[in-house]
Amino acid sequence: MSDKLIVAGKEFTSRLWVGTGKYSTFQVMKAAHEASGTEMITVAVRRVNLNPKKGEESLFDFIDQKKCFLLPNTAACFNVEDAVRTAHLGAEAGLSKWVKLEVIGDEKTLFPDVIGLLEATRILVKDGFTVLPYTNDDVVIAKKLEDAGAAAVMPLAAPIGSGQGVTNPLNIRLIKEAVKVPVIVDAGVGTASDAAVAMELGADGVLMNTAIALAKDPVKMALAMKLGVEAGRLAFLAGRMQAKRYASASSPLDGISK
């Protein structure tokens, strides 16, 4: 079955994108990534620790770059200037000009500053970046981001790291109907059924970090997420039946032996 996710001309077999934060060890992270079947891995860009502890390992050595595409983010950037600068640093550190663009507007909710996000998207598109903006679940902003040249839009399911699942299913569906670029639900899922719900709503993919990293068994949860995303995608493609108020018998009502 060929059902590839295509973003900016790049094909992905897996529709599950995963992060690299909050894992207990890099070894657990690597095993979880393998179990998830992911081909897209997000990373953050930070200052090198100049006084490392002995034997401190490098994240870079635990990512299979033959199989997985590396997507630097601009997490913790609270203004356009920082986000644009971090995107350029990430591009220089990595091997591509793809960026998961975050311009955060509020520390408590980590909700995006969509005005800054739109501005940063315009700048980075002009600079030749493939921009994947993490955005609010707002259909108007999603359309504006697409118009600004975003290669996908990535609305949140719920606040980052909150594990609440898709809090506003209608908005995800409306965004999917309103834009032509892929819609990746990014942040807020907690468990496999949340990922399935996002996909059933028509999302083209799901990006998550905490739900896998902070599960009691991250490797098992990574596999559950893979299956959840696949199940949701298949259900979406299959087209669900109409929900009804009353029962409709599955077995014939007549012909009962008396």
Partner: protein
């Protein structure tokens, strides 16, 4: 010479290139980015960019994130 690196003042012996600095901190050039006085240094220029006293350097790499 003294460099302001990642907000910390540190002493290094000259001459030192950007590549030399990256190596001194046990890093390979893959996976890092260097900003010298607020301008990104391209990887092809690491070998031939000499650092001088008072330079402000940002040395970044990838860490875990979502």
């Amino acid at each position: 010479m003294k460099l302001m690196i990642n907000g910390e003042e540190k002493s290094y012996s000259a001459p030192l290139t950007v590549m030399g600095l990256v190596g001194k901190h046990g890093l390979k050039k893959e996976g890092v980015a260097v900003e010298l006085n607020k301008k990104i240094v391209k990887k092809v220029d690491y070998e031939n960019t000499l650092l001088k006293d008072g330079d402000k350097v940002e040395l970044v790499h990838f860490v875990g994130g979502g």
